[in-house]
Symmetry: C2
Subunit: 488 residues, 2 copies
């Protein structure tokens, strides 16, 4: 099936890519997606690199219940406004056979005294536990991360971008001082930045959300807003300074160094499978999916062209020592938090004899394998290998003895180039205007940096008139301009 | 707090260990536990080793929805009997503010047309997807694993052993022939066996469940039943041959090599955080938790005894080169499925000056760190290091230059010895009797291998009279004796 072109219908194109590259599909449950093996393999890479980063920065994993008592949401006043409305509610704990013997029904006798909410986020249930964990400043900081599924009762959903259930990493920390909590919230934005730049190859604007766009219960929300190919912003990650709001709601006090009881300070943050949507809408091209090599499930595919088992054996023998070198080598990435991160290079041999080479090539281009080697007897006779580079479409003929070296170099080059490309694209489509009224002329072509009078009213007017919102107050801007964009 | 002794009250002792070693705690939601960082660190190790084993045997990860339409459970007749009754039911998707402004309530207008079940197991939702994935024998086998939380509406719960929510790995495979499906179910029991023996240090009886104890929807259920310290069996893992039952229920047909439409063959299997309960009840001793080194979050703790910063610096310098060797070395385990599995050795320095060494020792013994070095100036002057071995309580004085070598050797020894100890314990408490009536005399002292007439009635009578059940029909027994035990 053809993929809808970018210009024709960007939204249809996105859905085509998700489906045809085998990343995810809709399930029988409205708004819930099935993450297919290829999509999950990408998430695994992201999840594990992030996990390593969180551990390097002192965080530990733990796991808290999926179900949250309804009353918990009412404890933090602004939290309930932001979250408690559109959520899945468990009201019963048993089914029974119907009296007529035809099927099963909810047993009315099993009604819960208090309904349970299927977690949309975990601040409340976690701070209810912290009450028993935190007694003295010596128990702090608590730096906890949870890998979990969370749910939202979303009515209009799109795979990865907005789903009723998604997978995520959520961090929940407790601190002995406001400064330390603030530093943590800022540090995690740096971690996200590092991951985005070095692994996802995403350029991005970072900054603070305006007050009216903060997370429910936060005093500061920091955000990361990369530009998608259709110029919309994707809120990819957020990090929140929650002050003492959850400590007060759940009565989490500690004895500080002055031996006085004080409420603990909180932060929280989250990053989810939504990022996969971000990858798709950042890098993909006319041939299909494009992934930074750091997150690609397969790095190199070898397609031998052979007529007999002898030919095949000859080709395999020819490649053997170089492929061994590749498999012993590591693909390395420099990161501010992980220093040198290393990953094995994943090589796939495609020996399927039922598909033509052409069909194989198209499939690997659609699903994105950064490097491909198609190799026949003639190459063996000439001591060469032809490497196809998926991002540029170039074919490189190299001497067999150089294969491993070239593969490693190309993977690094592709990784770097994807970031540069996205940075250039974003900068070329970011416009600075000097008058608030000029936002309109540019908003359909990219991000707009414009002055803002700081009122919620003017932000709402822009939203009404142009469907654009303030994505962030970028860090380090002295002119006070803020970033406007349409968004997912 | 003291831990209840094994003889006094084994059940209270279990709860004490879980709590005092910081593994888990109860939450505000009935039956749902919080897995604390130390408990989660153990699960992470288990989960990741299993994940590597599943990948080595050709399985891929994917993720399916948490919510399952109620009607799905009714599609497989025996499945509904086994599972659909005690489960959490989502009936609404929105809350609203109460009219009186005091709190929130379930919005009656948000009632779902069809209630959703929070997954107790995923066969139904997964086979509903397989319908679109399987068309030809060339699409098979499908070897999928899911890492997920699952729920049961349990009324009487105990941390790890029986909880309303738990974490697990569930495998769901589809095959083109009955033989292949059967082989898969058997192979996964071998994978579990390998993991149990080499990583968890568990000896165990493996075999098939009698027909009346099969998983809901299975034609064969294979099981793994290690003996706990109180002589009860723990059903630690199961692997099911599901025949075509789910394919028929969800209409999953494929074109076989003869070009005929045929229903696909299924297997499923599961392993969960319950295993942590198994570890606790297998290895722990009077001092506290005991873990096989392969699964221990910390391998070696160093407690320097010092009066000044200079003393401390001297001690650290003294240890440095050997500790570097340790950190470069790997703790290696031979496994049938992973060949040589390697893990970094985790070393903790305890520089806390507020706790006495004695208190630190007690804590590390309770939480289990297999090796401990307490080191002061005198050791440095004598070029020695004293290593405390937690499992035997021995103290070994070794020359500083031997430290790394001895640490590696001891970790392997402890790993091996724990398995041998459990094997000996299990064999010593397994009794063979020749008459069905003799089960009674032995059932409180261990497992009993006894003849069985094959009827459900006699099994039920034993259960009623002795609270014992048939745990399995052990593999490879020609005399047809089956294994009876009390169980968790």
């Amino acid at each position: 099936m053809a993929i809808t072109s970018r210009k024709e219908d960007y939204s249809a194109r996105y859905n085509d890519l998700v489906q045809q590259a085998g990343l995810a599909e809709n399930s029988a449950v409205k708004g819930c997606m099935v993450i297919k093996p290829y999509g999950y393999a990408i998430w695994e890479k992201m999840r594990d690199i992030l996990d390593a980063m969180f551990k390097k920065t002192g965080h530990q994993n733990a796991y808290f219940p999926l179900f949250i008592p309804k009353s918990f949401f009412a404890k933090e006043a602004s939290h309930v406004e932001g979250f408690a409305k559109e959520c899945w509610v468990v009201t019963h704990y048993r089914l029974k056979n119907k009296v007529d013997g035809k099927g099963i029904e909810v047993d009315p006798a099993s009604k819960l005294e208090e309904p349970l909410i299927v977690r949309p986020t975990s601040e409340t249930i976690i701070w209810d536990s912290y009450k028993d964990w935190v007694h003295s400043y010596r128990d702090l900081p608590l730096l906890i991360n949870q890998r979990a599924n969370v749910t939202r009762a979303e009515m209009r959903t799109r795979p990865f971008l907005r789903t009723s259930e998604f997978l995520r990493q959520e961090g929940h920390t407790a601190h002995a001082s406001a400064e330390e909590a603030h530093d943590e919230a800022m540090k995690m934005i740096q971690v996200y930045h590092d991951f985005s730049q070095h692994f996802m190859a995403l350029f991005s604007y970072r900054g603070e959300k305006p007050a009216h766009e903060r997370f429910a219960g936060a005093v500061h929300t920091y955000t990361f807003e990369p530009m998608m190919q259709d110029f919309k912003a994707l809120q990819a990650w957020t990090s929140h300074d929650l002050w003492q709001n959850f400590a007060k709601a759940f009565d989490v006090k500690f004895l500080n160094k002055q031996n006085e009881l004080e409420y603990a300070y909180a932060t929280s943050r989250g990053v989810s499978t939504r990022l996969i949507g971000g990858l798709i809408m950042t890098h993909s091209d006319d041939k299909g999916l494009v992934l930074p090599p750091a997150l690609a499930p397969i790095h190199l595919v070898v397609v031998p062209i052979f007529k007999s088992d002898e030919d095949l054996q000859e080709i395999l023998n020819y490649l053997q020592s170089e492929l061994e070198k590749i498999q012993k080598a590591d693909f390395a990435i420099e990161s501010d938090f992980l220093w040198t991160w290393k990953s094995a290079i994943s090589v796939k041999f495609d020996l399927d004899t039922q598909k033509t080479p052409g069909r194989k090539y198209a499939e690997y281009e659609l699903k994105w394998v950064p490097l491909r080697i198609a190799i026949g007897k003639r190459d063996v006779q000439q001591w060469i290998v032809e490497i196809f580079r998926r991002d540029t479409g170039e074919k490189l003929q190299v001497n067999i003895s150089e294969l491993a070296t070239v593969v490693l170099r190309l993977l690094s080059e592709i990784q770097t180039n994807l970031f540069k490309k996205h940075e250039t694209f974003t900068r070329e489509h970011t416009f600075e205007v000097d008058r608030f009224e000029d936002i309109k002329s540019r908003i359909d072509q990219g991000f707009v940096l414009a002055p803002w009078d700081g009122t919620k009213e003017s932000a709402e007017k822009i939203q009404e008139d142009l469907k654009a919102t303030i994505r962030c107050l970028p860090f380090g801007r002295e002119d006070g301009k803020v970033l406007f964009a349409k968004s997912y």
